[in-house]
Symmetry: C2
């Protein structure tokens, strides 16, 4: 067993250091497990692997609550042995995705900012029975120093009777000091979250816990299961250029300060391309208030363009993680992790005026967005924080390539097959074809701008035809749909494998 | 002309008192007009009527921005002469509704909490050219004392170059002191809104303006065009009982304090029935943080059950208005009007933990809600504040009778024909058939609870059949839709006049 005693600074806790198997044996069927972790970063690994091993021999299920997606050692291993009954609030694991799309796992997909408070309110079927938390270290007082994510961990620790801590020796001790832990009181006692600037500090650098609550401490030396990014492709590059040109225009006409407003950028390659676009721009003093800190933010720092970034997880590529760790002394001056309830807080998003940039699976001509479902039924990942930001941002931008599946799918459709963000929450749409600014437009006006600016030429005539038929059928109603044909594009794809006629 | 000089306490302004016609002559084609008014309360009447008269002779259009719906003297009169090009953010007028459903008016339907800030940001096509504001009085310093609503008025006055004030002598002077005017700064300068309790005062009792900005002052003696409520019918009565029983259960299991949390209640007869239900209950010390203060709140006060209510408008029935005015000395101890940006503030709704109760046109088996569109195309009124509250509430409840049009329409459908509130934002559904608590449930689980508890017996087998077919077609995908049939109920209604097969 790896020696972690130097990281467990509360000596009274040394007796609680056990093997992963011993800790996993404590988990009972039907328990609600609150785990650390947000976008494969900072999640427990050793205990879940031991738990999955136990479940493989003696099958049972637990409910799993995390911050967001976690790596294969948790979601993957438990899904593979059928060990999850209910899962919330977000996932990206293939095995788990298959399980929740086949009736094996019940998935509760919700706004990431709300997940902690809903567990505290007792709305999700009982409380947290056991919190399993990855830590860099345990302080002299028995408090927990988190690793590469903060997520919902502080709330789960607060709510749980029992805490199991995994001390991960691959996580550098320099992470200590990079967290700002703050758990709001619940109504009717809640107070304003006192953040007015991206770098405001309002809490502690550790998760308050105390030695009594900690039942077991388990050593772990498995690294975060972070993923490489693909190279920036031509479409992403084009979208990045379009949005940066648009921002420059907004600054020019006085609708945005010279150094912009705090940026939020979703996870993935388009988001990464957009952030990279800023690296090559003449913007300076950029601020980021987001969920996930990825390679682009490191690039911004290295280019001297980042004033400050706060998020709830560090989830760069494997190369990015190496860069982060090797130069952590510099990055820790510029970056901070907050609980996701604060990183994604509607209150803060609206106050500081975030510019929200997220990816859509599809959007429709009237401005609604599908972020979660393939052809209306199959869950992809989840809404994540996109709703927290889209609803409350200063400016809400959604990105998608104009087509998918080699052109068989148009990402701009007559009506979304699932709606996660409504027409009331969207401002800017970007595809590699162009940018549509729909602020202040009626649905009929929006439809023309979206079709003309964003649709692929193969689908543009079909979309215009749909709009005209709708205007005729409804005598120019506010949202002129031909209801019987509204989802016919998706039905056609399901039947024939293409949305084309 | 009515003598209003005693209400214009800034004597330097007496020279600016003119006729409605003279003031209306100042309005130019294409101007953005920011008017006071929220749910036919506190809107200007004399100047709009004069403007409509002028437009009837010499046609031209303006853009009309208000707080929410306004009475026939503004929306009705201008729509009747084709005088509106663009309208936001909410309406309930028949003539205007027809105009925006026939391509004559472009309507921008948005969250009421966002409308003021979007005009300040300059996102809606220019600034406010002229603000037209109904007032009780003008102070010695030239500031404006509003009447029965606050809405977006303070922001429109702040943004406009020119202000026209209608001093309405039918509005009692005792309204002075009942307003709490606070306009937040815009990002990056915005601060926390310092409200932690329903009765917290954070602003001024008047709208800051000053004499220089006021161009004209017009007398008016037309009363607010408030509407009577129907008697509480059996369905509303039943829904009221169901939700109050549910609240009692929540208190019993410790998920809510004994005197509840602040109530928000939409406009209309169901909402009124629910509030009336509290009058006959043993609840005490109730708090209300809502948009519109209606008769039910007067009843709660009279019954000694109301601790405090804040809203953005007084819009009771004609009888209620008489009661309010005749006993205003009592009600003013218990009630306050705020700007709608504050009354509907996501920040406050989440902080104080509002219980949101709103009416749906239809909801679907997976928990999405349509608040705005008839059969997916025709705009009814608008989203209003429902999204502000539904997204951020402690508990989000939607009400609807299980059927409409004598049973030809099921209010519970396979898929909503328009979505204003997504599955991520809904907790409780109530029809006269029963209550569905979908907190923490997956879409497949939700569907069974909603169908079994809320659907009308005529439609229950059809809905269950749809669900089963969806599970078969998608092999139990996360949201098991039969996409080609998802909107077939609406298509059938459009074709045959009924959703029944």
């Amino acid at each position: 067993m790896i020696d972690i005693r130097d990281r467990v600074r509360c000596k009274a806790l040394h007796d609680k250091i056990v093997s992963a198997e011993e800790a996993a044996a404590f988990i009972k069927p039907g328990m609600n497990i609150g785990a650390s972790g947000f976008t494969p970063a900072g999640y427990p690994k050793a205990v879940p692997l031991a738990l999955a091993k136990r479940m493989a021999q003696d099958p049972f299920k637990i409910n799993l609550w995390t911050g967001a997606s976690v790596g294969k050692e948790l979601d993957g291993a438990l899904a593979a042995v059928g060990g999850i009954h209910k899962r919330m609030p977000y996932q990206t694991n293939t095995d788990l995705r298959n399980a929740l799309n086949s009736g094996e796992v019940e998935y509760y997909d919700l706004h990431l900012s709300e997940s902690a408070q809903l567990t505290r309110y007792g709305f999700l079927g009982g409380k947290v029975d056991v919190a399993i938390v990855e830590a860099c270290a345990i302080t002299e007082e028995g408090h927990i120093v988190p690793t590469t994510s903060l997520g919902n961990t502080a709330s789960y620790v607060q709510s749980a009777d029992i805490v199991i801590v995994e001390v991960n020796t691959t996580q550098p001790l320099e992470l200590e000091g990079m967290h700002d832990v703050y758990v709001p009181l619940d109504p009717p006692h809640r107070q304003p979250v006192p953040i007015v600037k991206v770098d405001d500090r309002i809490g502690t650098t550790y998760i308050p816990c105390g030695p009594d609550k900690i039942k077991y401490i388990v050593p772990c030396d498995i690294t975060d299961d972070v993923r490489p990014f693909g190279p920036i492709d031509e479409c992403s590059q084009k979208m990045s250029e379009l949005i940066i040109d648009f921002f420059k225009h907004e600054i020019k006409v006085g609708r945005m300060p010279k150094n912009m407003l705090p940026l939020q950028s979703g996870v993935g390659s388009v988001a990464n391309a957009v952030i990279s676009g800023f690296v090559d721009s003449d913007f300076t003093d950029l601020e980021v208030y987001t969920e996930v800190i990825q390679d682009g933010m490191l690039d911004l720092t290295d280019a001297g363009k980042l004033k400050f970034a706060s998020g709830t997880s560090f989830s760069p590529s494997p190369d990015g993680l190496k860069r982060l760790y090797s130069n952590i002394g510099v990055y820790r001056q510029k970056m901070m992790l907050r609980p996701q309830e604060i990183a994604n807080s509607p209150e803060i998003a609206r106050r500081i005026g975030i510019i929200a940039m997220n990816t859509a699976i599809e959007f429709d001509i009237f401005g609604h967005v599908n972020s979660t479902h393939i052809m209306g039924s199959k869950m992809m990942n989840g809404i994540g924080g996109s709703g927290d930001f889209a609803r409350n941002a200063y400016l809400t931008c959604f990105f998608s390539t104009s087509t998918a599946k080699n052109g068989a799918i148009s990402s701009i459709v007559p009506m979304c097959s699932h709606i996660d963000h409504t027409e009331h929450d969207t401002d800017i749409f970007v595809t590699e074809m162009g940018l549509a600014d729909v602020r202040g437009l009626s649905p009929r006006e929006r439809a023309r701008v979206i079709i003309n600016n964003c649709a692929h030429p193969d689908y543009k005539p079909m979309l215009l035809d749909y709009l005209k038929k709708g205007e005729k059928a409804t005598k120019k109603a506010h949202t002129p749909h031909v209801i019987k044909d509204a989802l016919s594009w998706h039905a056609r794809f399901i039947k024939t494998g293409t949305m084309k006629k």
